[in-house]
């Protein structure tokens, strides 16, 4: 078996330990940057929704500022954002290379993307439902948690899924600027040394990762849709 594998893809077999490290680096970035982005993006998405004109905590100034900032970061191409944020990374996590250094640009790029998706998901909660809640004398915080978020669980899961999948793409890209991970691995060996089998293996691993995320997401969407 091992012999056959070494025959078919000779380049990958002598790099297994290094592939394993790359895989773990990708998972590390996915987990940390993903959960941070979801947390911050969810908060921003909620703020965008409730501070909009004629919404429960209308605050035009806050809305406009947040709106503009998110647009700004969303319009910067990721690879440029990475170079733009090197000093910020240095200040926050102490380095701008390696998986740790990559976290900052990943979060900066993912938060606006996720916050916008949350904003559009929450916009689907009908105004009538919010009006009914107000008529019951429910506090704004309770409306956010018990109505906006609770009613949107399937939509929130769907956008979280999409965000994680697009995050995998960003993580591969950040590899180019010494971020580590599977992308870095594929470029270094597959591209620069023309070891095509390395690319195939990386593609298969990433495909599996995406599929697993989709399975988990769809399972929960089905569970929470009534």
């Amino acid at each position: 078996m091992m012999e056959w594998l070494s025959d078919v893809m000779p380049n990958i077999m002598d790099k297994l330990p290094s592939l394993q490290i790359s895989f773990i680096e990708t998972l590390y970035m996915l987990a940390i940057a993903g959960s941070l982005s979801v947390l911050i993006g969810l908060i921003f998405g909620v703020i965008l929704t409730v501070t909009k004109k004629n919404h429960i905590l209308q605050n035009i100034v806050l809305y406009t500022i947040l709106d503009k900032i998110l647009n700004l970061f969303r319009s910067i191409p990721f690879i440029i954002l990475v170079s733009l944020l090197i000093y910020v990374s240095q200040a926050i996590v102490g380095t701008f290379i390696g998986p740790k250094g990559a976290l900052v640009p990943l979060v900066f790029a993912t938060v606006p993307f996720y916050a916008r998706q949350i904003e559009s998901v929450l916009a689907e909660v009908s105004d009538g439902l919010i009006e009914a809640s107000l008529a019951m004398g429910i506090t704004p915080i309770q409306i956010i948690i018990r109505v906006y978020l609770k009613e949107s669980i399937p939509g929130i899961i769907r956008s979280t899924m999409t965000t994680f999948i697009s995050l995998i793409g960003l993580i591969a890209m950040v590899g180019v600027v010494a971020g580590g991970g599977l992308g870095d691995f594929a470029i270094r060996y597959g591209f620069q040394r023309s070891q095509v089998d390395v690319i195939y293996v990386v593609v298969i691993i990433i495909l599996c990762l995406v599929t697993i995320i989709q399975w988990i997401g769809n399972y929960f969407i089905k569970k929470y849709t009534h």
């Binding site: 009538g128 009006e131 004398g137 429910i138």
Partner: protein, 365 residues
């Protein structure tokens, strides 16, 4: 009692100001069912929303049990709102919650450490400002009793998407009653329902009113709804209340044209005008005959007028069309009839009818 004093609501856009309510004053007695009818754009929905301050009036005062609402801080306003249930045309249930969870939604759980709050509440002068809190068991018991009241005990684990329109409205009513409100506001609550379901929902509302003594304020564009359950009615047009009174008064003696139009929509009497215009053979008269509209109400109709007239004055009475409603246990009727017979006898008959307080209008002779 609910009192509105010169409530005015204006919407200002860049170009112009729209007056949705023009100094509306209203008094609604406790324990009554008060109907507000008007066509769309008449301001009835705005008026209803002013009562629980979902719309802040531009001017004027609103008193609920003597408490003035317009100056209240949000915190106190929320407490007042908990004492006012509201139901909507499109139900507005939460799809992610079961029937049971929807009903339990407005009830607040008891705080574990409530010492501070208790003291605060005791200082309040009016019981409108005391927030009710429940233990888990109390919420369960309350939900069960509400489910029974609206007749949905067997549906408690279902989601709103599995229910029919009428059932959804029942859930909404139960939810609105969860905090033992003193007032129930109904915003076109039956407009999205078919006629039979409408009747059953109205019956439920009446039951709620009688069993729990809750004041109900409902807005609608259907006279049927008013006729079915209301004690009093106000007619709105162009942001003003043009006429109000007991349902019986309004049905028997409407003054304004809008009111008459709304009444016409519920009876088939209006058809006679079309027939007259078309000169239909149904209303063809022999010389000496008279086409007469009779309107009667209350007790004077206890005696059977038509057969009496026919016998006393030996007239042939031919009924063309008519409606008879039972309003607050009293028959109210309009009939269009043709009197055939001796000319003088007909005159005498009309006189006799007028004397027994039947309104007579000769439409064609």
């Amino acid at each position: 009692m609910i009192v509105l004093k010169e409530v005015r609501k204006e919407y200002t856009s860049k170009k112009k100001t729209i007056e949705a309510l023009k100094d509306v004053s209203l008094e609604i007695q406790e324990g009554k069912i008060f109907g507000i009818i008007g066509s769309s754009g008449a301001g009835k929905s705005t008026l209803l929303r002013c009562i629980n301050m979902l719309e802040k009036p531009t001017k004027g005062q609103i008193y609920i049990e003597g408490e003035e609402l317009s100056g209240l801080k949000m915190k106190k306003l929320r407490l007042i709102r908990q004492k006012m249930g509201m139901i909507f045309q499109h139900f507005h249930l939460m799809n992610a919650r079961t029937v049971e969870q929807n009903i339990a939604f407005p009830m607040k759980r008891k705080r574990k450490f409530s010492l501070f709050n208790k003291q605060k509440n005791q200082q309040e002068t009016s019981d409108m400002y005391i927030e009710k809190r429940y233990t888990k068991k109390e919420i369960q018991a309350k939900t069960d009793s509400l489910l029974e009241l609206v007749g949905l005990s067997d549906k408690k684990g279902m989601y709103p998407s599995q229910l029919s329109g009428g059932q959804k409205q029942r859930v909404a009513i139960a939810r609105a009653l969860a905090n033992d409100p003193k007032v129930l506001l109904c915003d076109e609550a039956t407009s999205a329902l078919d006629p039979q379901t409408t009747i059953s929902i109205l019956k439920l509302l009446k039951e709620v009113n009688q069993k729990l003594g809750i004041t109900i304020i409902l807005i609608t564009h259907e006279m049927e709804v008013i006729k079915e359950i209301c004690d009093r009615v106000a007619i709105m047009e162009g942001g003003e209340i043009v006429e109000q009174g007991s349902v019986l008064e309004i049905f028997t003696h409407p003054c304004k044209q809008v009111t008459k139009d709304f009444l016409c929509a519920t009876s088939n009497i209006s058809k006679i005008y079309e027939l007259l215009e078309q000169n239909s053979p149904i209303v063809h008269l022999e010389p000496g005959d008279r086409l007469v509209k009779l309107q009667y109400s209350t007790m004077n109709t206890g005696t059977s007028i038509i057969s009496n007239i026919s016998k006393l004055f030996s007239l042939e009475v031919n009924i063309i069309c008519g409606t008879i409603e039972i309003l607050q246990n009293q028959p109210v009727g309009s009939l269009v009839v043709i009197f055939k017979g001796n000319k003088e006898k007909i005159e005498e008959a009309i006189k006799a009818l007028k004397e027994s307080q039947v309104e007579v209008e000769v439409m064609k002779q």
